[in-house]
């Protein structure tokens, strides 16, 4: 009887449990993150034009900038001036391009981005004066020389999105 009681008591005594803390560390730093939301596709409205304009069957590339520090970065977006990949082209290609604000996470503090943008050549620069996310969309058009037809093949061009700390 006594032995049974002792055994029962032993089962009730909790064994010493070791707990180990698993630390989760994080480091919050000011940053600018460039995100490619939509890569963009060239439409081919006629034989001698490739364009990302939606009206011509293209898809406009969209880039998002997320900044966590106000007034610390410039966004520069440059539309293409040459093909990164194309069939052999014997004539010149004329390039036009533009970039504009597509969407803002904070319309109050970012409302002036579009009016204050600076454009030089194919590059558009925005002063990111507020924290949050900004979406920029670009249009790129390539016209083949003398309105000749682009040869068949795959065409790829680079849009460069840069974030520069002030």
């Amino acid at each position: 009887m006594f032995k049974k009681l002792l055994t029962s008591i032993l089962f009730l005594v909790p064994f010493s449990a070791h707990s180990v803390d698993v630390p989760i560390t994080g480091n919050v730093q000011s940053r600018c993150v460039i995100t490619t939301d939509t890569p963009g596709v060239y439409g081919n409205p006629n034989a001698y034009t490739l364009t990302t304009a939606a009206a011509d069957g293209g898809v406009q590339p969209i880039v998002r900038y997320d900044v966590t520090l106000a007034d610390a970065y410039y966004a520069q977006i440059t539309t293409p001036t040459s093909f990164a990949l194309s069939p052999s082209l014997s004539d010149t290609v004329t390039w036009t391009g533009s970039t504009e604000v597509s969407s803002l996470s904070d319309a109050t503090n970012m409302g002036s981005y579009e009016t204050n943008k600076i454009t030089f050549g194919q590059t558009t620069q925005y002063d990111l004066t507020a924290t949050g996310s900004t979406w920029f969309k670009s249009t790129s058009t390539a016209t083949y020389g003398g309105n000749k037809a682009f040869p068949g093949g795959t065409y790829t061009a680079n849009i460069e999105a840069v974030c520069i700390a002030k």
Binding site: Q29, S30, R31, C32, V33, I34, T35, T36, D37, P39, G40, V41, Y42, T52, V59, P61, V63, R64, D66, T68, L69, A72, Y73, P80, A84, L85, S105, D106, T131, G132, S133, S138, S140, T154, Y155, T156, A157, N158, I159, E160, A161, V162, C163, I164, A165, K166
Partner: protein, 128 residues
């Protein structure tokens, strides 16, 4: 401010977009174990599944390249991989060196489209 940071966090974690991220924004050079050579550390995060390589460059304020040394000038970085790297410059270039940039290297075989190359430039802190 908290609302904005929360929104950014949500966007970063729950969207299917592809991002390029580098910190710190303002790196600072310090003396290295080599005489006449300065070093700083940066961290790069690849959240672009269309990019495997990033090129490191150091520029002056006029965007001329400044000589520098690092383990790999072109870093191989898999999707969702994070890497810390050090950049070394000569002490005599400390006033010239202004930006440290990483630029995505796009694969050549992408389809009939525009591709977006991303470049992030940190500005070197100069408090001397």
């Amino acid at each position: 401010m908290k609302k904005i940071l929360f929104t950014i966090t949500l966007l970063l974690f729950f969207t299917k977009a592809f991002a390029h991220d580098m910190v710190p924004t303002y790196p600072e050079f310090r003396p290295s174990y080599l005489e006449g050579v300065l070093v700083t550390d940066l961290e790069l995060f690849n959240k672009r599944n269309d990019v495997d390589y990033y090129e490191i460059t150091v520029f002056d304020e006029f965007w001329n390249t400044v000589p520098f040394v690092t383990s790999y000038k072109i870093l191989k970085l898999s999707y969702l991989e994070r890497v810390k790297f050090s950049v070394y410059i000569r002490s005599k270039d400390r006033n010239r060196a202004t930006y440290i940039c990483t630029k995505s290297r796009i694969r050549g075989e992408v389809g009939p489209s525009t591709v977006i190359s991303s470049m992030i430039c940190s500005k070197i802190k100069k408090d001397y």
